[in-house]
Symmetry: C2
Subunit: 341 residues, 2 copies
């Protein structure tokens, strides 16, 4: 595509990290999608990413329509530098694109004994409570907390009840989905996984008002405001869609997608060893919380992804046939020699 | 109780602000509860609240067992000063007590054209996904976003599906509650509002695994870690209970309750007028999102509380008889002349 070599390596690293962590929906399976956006000239392969506004602990970054996979690590690097100097760093990003898994960016902070945060707005698919209109993306929130002897606690969650990927799995298997995931185009709740592709919408975490969907809607809104209203990106229903066959709406209020990245030095609050000893105690106590089913202990956020990465690093990343096909097609198009699989 | 006069005024202001905003559960109705904690020597009426660790944009505050109603505004004042100087300020607090409504503290930032954040851990009542043990409080998260011509967007939400107050209302009215709010002591889901007082637990936002309770559990965990593991307060099931008849557990890993307060200058990211114009456009667009029921438009987070305050400032704050009785008893005990109501 013409990406500088460093950028290409970085983008590949973000995608592969996702597959390693078992988040297939955000890994190399998306590569063809990024290329389609580049074909539409909605991704700039050689961007001039830069800080356009700053204070000692805050900044706004203009991604120059680059790959979010490259823009977000750039922004997190700024956040880390500011945190080193001022205790914390917070960067709002405009004019970007899909940034892969939020956890990749938060982990950049965790590796330096900092608490990491990453969020992004995304293609509008989620309807606010009482609405049938797609107004918000699945707008993920990620917190990364370093630990001592345990893997870090990594929270990486869509603010909708379920992410789109889970719906696609149910659709392929033609299985009904739980209530509270989607509604039909007219706003009727549905357990049909095709409701979204038939013009319906995803529901905010909580599902309906009685079950707290106003909270999921509010969290998704916070992500939208921090990522896009604060930076000057497009927000709400104007957030540019990831799929290349949908054009961004006219009358854009800002530029591209927005992200929000943050880092706080643990030793900006207390000595790292004290924090880590307590973090380990926190983890152990939660692992030993009384079980409902004796066979199922409480899971610490990030454990499943850590286990997936441990296994996948040894056994390799399982890829489905359609993704292998996409990668072969891309290799042919870009004249890249493939490994025989 | 022996609070310095400024502290008494401040604490009263926090409680009354809650009642004004229609959050009766956190207003003057709690005054008797704070006094009971003071009777038990768990609240220090005349604390030496101080910064014990800091960088230009971060700090840890020791609340010296003071009223959270006083400790949290102190900590937010530190955050605001740091934000003025460095763009943002983040303060983790240990050795505190219940801080009232989170929105009070976030609004201190909003008034200065900053984005405010406030969270706190709380009495353990919420069971993580797959557990029947009370491991977390309702651990609220609050974001306050200034707007231009509209009231600020204020998100102030428990990370459980429903807050305890809603359960108490249902219990008084002897009405069943929606699924996903509580479980019985053995972990069986329940729609009986008495399940909590019979040894059960509140459920994290989402209610069960299928509906995303692992996300509510993760958010409550993030609040617990930022408020308590980071500051040196007690966390998880050790968080000291608000009710004075329950003693804190032995073997405390930290000191008192913890909070986390933050402020970011809007103009640390973009000019305030640009941000406000876009915030207003965001609000208008969401108010006009397509409705499911033509009679019910989409609600902007914070609107109901703003409307309650507008009405209550004119009409006065409605108090139930039992709260009036509590206030009269306190007046007699502390030899305070009461207004005749």
């Amino acid at each position: 595509m013409g990406c500088p070599e460093n950028d290409a390596h970085l983008a590949a690293d973000v995608l592969i990290k996702s597959d390693l962590r078992g988040i297939d929906s955000h890994g190399v399976a998306r590569l063809a999608g990024y290329v389609r956006l580049w074909d539409k000239k909605r991704i700039n392969a050689n961007p001039f990413i830069r800080v356009v506004h700053e204070t000692p602990s805050t900044a706004t970054v203009d991604g120059d329509a680059g790959l979010g996979l490259v823009v977000a690590p750039f922004a997190m690097t700024i956040a880390l530098k500011k945190a080193e100097q001022s205790g914390s760093g917070w960067v709002s990003v405009k004019n970007s694109n899909h940034f892969g898994i939020a956890a990749y960016h938060a982990l950049m902070a965790v590796e330096k004994d900092m608490i990491g945060m990453a969020m992004t707005n995304a293609s509008p698919l989620v309807a606010p409570t009482f609405s049938k209109e797609r107004m918000l993306g699945t707008n993920p929130i990620c917190y990364g907390f370093p630990a001592g002897n345990y893997p870090p606690v990594i929270i990486d969650m869509a603010t909708s009840t379920a992410a789109n990927g889970k719906l696609e799995v149910a659709q392929r298997k033609q299985r009904p989905i739980p209530s509270g995931w989607v509604q039909q185009a007219d706003g009727t709740p549905s357990t049909n996984p095709s409701a979204l592709s038939s013009g319906g919408s995803l529901l905010p975490l909580g599902g309906d008002r009685d079950h707290g969907s106003h909270k999921g809607y509010a969290l998704g809104s916070a992500v939208d405001i921090l990522s896009a209203v604060l930076s000057g990106a497009s927000y709400g229903p104007w957030a540019p869609p990831f799929v290349a066959f949908l054009e961004p709406k006219d009358d854009q209020p800002g530029e591209g997608l927005g992200h929000f990245l943050g880092a706080m030095r643990v030793d900006g609050f207390r000595p790292v060893e004290d924090y880590k000893a307590n973090m380990d105690r926190w983890i152990e106590r939660f692992q030993h919380a009384e079980r409902i089913d004796p066979a199922q202990r409480v899971i610490i956020p990030g454990e499943p992804e850590f286990e997936a990465e441990t296994i996948n690093r040894i056994q390799g990343i399982p890829l489905v046939e359609s993704v292998i096909g996409d990668l072969r097609d891309l290799a042919v198009r870009f004249n890249i020699k493939t490994l025989e699989i």
